[in-house]
Amino acid sequence: METKHLLTGNEAAAEAAIIAGCRYYYGYPITPQNELINYLATRMPQVGGTFIQAESELAAINMVYGSAAAGARTMTSSSSPGISLKQECISYMAGSELPCLIVNMQRGGPGLGDISTSQADYFQAVKGGGHGDYRIIVLAPSTVQETADLVYDAFDIADKYRNPVMVLGDAQIGQLMEPVVFHKERKNNVADKPWALTGSKGRKKNIVKSFYPVKGELEVFNKKLQEKYKRIEDNEVLFEDLNTNGADVVLVAYGTTSRICKDVINKYESGNHQLGMLRPISLWPFPTKKIREISESAKAIITIEMSAGQMVEDVRLAVEGRCPVHFYGRTGGGIPTPKEILKKIDELGF
């Protein structure tokens, strides 16, 4: 039988990274992701990997830039304010087409906020907190097990598309302990990287860069990037569909709030409506098509977030007015309760 471990999401992400072949971790402490960095401080040396507690989040992400440019699977992790500090380099990595994993266990904001849970970095993650037209792939787990599973995927997808991938959790996912099973046999699918910096022996020199000063070149490069993003949108959308087929009211929620919505659906059996839920797992690329489809038959969609309303914009962009899109959110560490969500459903008044 597979061994079950009782681990936090932070620890599960760390161990999964090891299993996925990541041997270069650079990070800086911040609550609520400390269990991740703390875990790897012990674990990386055990597997002959590199662990550096960097002097800052900036230094950490730039070390990631280096190891990614050198061809290795590499990662960093932080929480909201620390992720903000990484934005310049994330834009550089997207511009240099470097694969890596960034874990963000979101906390309350803005500013120092607090260390309670939050989903208010959605915009930053999916619209690009850095400068320029770039995208990072964003995966949002809702359980500790899924955190581990998405970390494996993250490394594979990052290598496949030469693009940074973010696993977007929150304080709850990061600190929650649940049983998790690791798939030890998982192939360490390290892609062949002819573009990587390894010394130019036996080949022409490689250059890793995002600078395109010659007039016109940057536009050509941006077109290439946009084509890649189109491919990712076509191929890498992930979601969980819970009875949306035929549902007249559909909840849309990811990560922590999706669990609560599941609870609602479970509790709701005897309600007035046919309830369904759509859980985006990839936040970018967003399951736009699926939601459009849903909006063609549903009478209402309610987006549930721990924010003042961020993902709901992507839902509205998908729905384009075909059905009303409602929103219920809590901020600053508040977690929507099943009761509150049921009340919101009741208020629909049809």
Binding site: A59, G66, G71, G199, S200, V208, K209, F211
Partner: protein, 248 residues
Amino acid sequence: MEKIFTRPESLLDVPTHYCAGCGHGVVQRLIAEVIDSLGAREKTIGIAPVGCAVLAYNYFDFDMSEAPHGRPPAVATGIKRVHPENLVFAYQGDGDLAAIGIAEIIHTANRGENITVIFVNNAVYGMTNGQMAPTSIMNQKTITTPQGRTSSEGYPLKVCELLSVLDGSSFLARVSTSTPENIRLTKKTILKGFTTQIEKKGFALVEVLSACPVYLRMEPEESLKFIDNEMTKTFPLGVFKDWETNNS
């Protein structure tokens, strides 16, 4: 006839974008000469800064990476950890290293990271058209110190002196490109910067006083005199730390 001086193999035969008389050209040629002399072209990985030297990756004939402004030491760390047997160096300007990137250089040196840093101190921001650098000397006129640098803008930052306080630094030296003799010494010193790495002795930094004639608003020849007559008063040449002689 025998060629006794020619363009090193590691330096591609392409025109550079540097202004006439710019010291970057000299320093980059010296690096290429040293890499050639070590037979290390195929195992060298360089990091170009954001600054006038940003396009250095087009001039060297070995693997090169860009780094965000100020972060070459962190990027170099990330590369070196993956390829400890390769020769990894960061090339940085004074704005890059001593202003926005001062945290990274200090902590990289303090970790004793086994890399080489070539630090081109031209006392000004070349790339962005002549603002004060942390290494601008007192009274130096720049576009952001139109009356000359005064103490209210702070004092010239002495990088070798600062890093020599750190237990992690192994080789620190300041040289210049002001004369043929100084340039030859600079080459030897850069060589030492690289052999420090090859022998796994840890962090090495070579600070090269260099001219930016355009933003010193001088003829190139005059700008070299400025190095000798003015800059070296604030930034004395010499070896500040050497693992071999235990000089520190």
